[in-house]
């Protein structure tokens, strides 16, 4: 079974705070498919560094405001 990446994210919260931006709109902004945005939000996929920066730029926040290392997952 694939291990979940030890990275938490606030993509869904930021998207909803961003005038309820749709997953499809975010996907288009960062150049991935809607299914990939869903996988990121559900923590099933860690985006590339480039896509992570693109997401942060869409929401005009820093990278660590979007993605955080999950210390509890290391145990």
């Amino acid at each position: 079974m694939a291990k979940r990446p030890p990275i938490l994210n606030r993509v869904k919260a930021l998207r909803e705070a961003h005038d309820g931006m749709s997953q499809a709109a975010l996907a288009k902004e960062i150049g991935v498919t809607r299914q990939t945005v869903i996988a990121i939000e559900q923590g099933r996929y860690s985006p590339s560094l480039e896509s992570a920066f693109r997401i942060a730029r869409v929401f005009q926040v820093g990278l660590e405001d979007v993605f955080q290392w999950d210390d509890t997952a290391e145990a």
């Binding site: 079974m1 694939a2 291990k3 991935v32 498919t33 299914q35 990939t36 996988a39 996929y45 590339s48």
Partner: protein, 140 residues
């Protein structure tokens, strides 16, 4: 469900059916002959036509049901999933061919070597589609 995942489900099913058909035909022919049946153009052509026609029809259907998904280009996650699934399925193919070659070295049955190679190809493709689905669902 992404277009690639739908495609993996359909192709996995199609190639499994083709594999079952191929093995059952070879088995019956071999039983009738009393030795491993030689590969025939009808057998290989039949399997190829079944697979190609089935793939074209099924992909037209899934593309028409969700044209937006079908027109999406592969993104970074798709590439990662497909690369990992393809990488592991390559080992399945390699193992099968290696086993077939050893079998040929010991028994000198070229017909069986051919069928083992075809079977390995089918098994590796099934593995690739199963892993693609698994990686899409659980993460690569």
């Amino acid at each position: 469900m992404s277009f690639h995942e739908k495609s993996a489900w359909i192709m996995g099913l199609l190639i499994s059916l083709t594999g079952v058909w191929y093995v059952s035909r070879v088995w019956k022919m071999s039983e009738a002959l009393g030795e491993t049946a030689p590969p025939t153009l009808g057998l290989i052509g039949g399997a190829t036509i079944m697979l190609v026609v089935g793939a074209i029809i099924s992909h037209i259907i899934i593309a028409s049901l969700s044209p937006e998904d079908a027109s999406d280009a592969e993104d970074e996650r798709d590439k990662q999933v497909l690369r990992r699934a393809g990488n592991i399925s390559g080992y399945v193919l390699g193992f099968g061919i290696f086993a077939g070659l050893w079998h040929y070295y010991i028994n000198s049955d070229g017909n069986l070597l051919f069928h083992i190679a075809v079977g390995s190809l089918i098994a590796s493709q099934i593995a690739e589609y199963v892993l693609t689905i698994l990686f899409y669902r659980r993460g690569a």
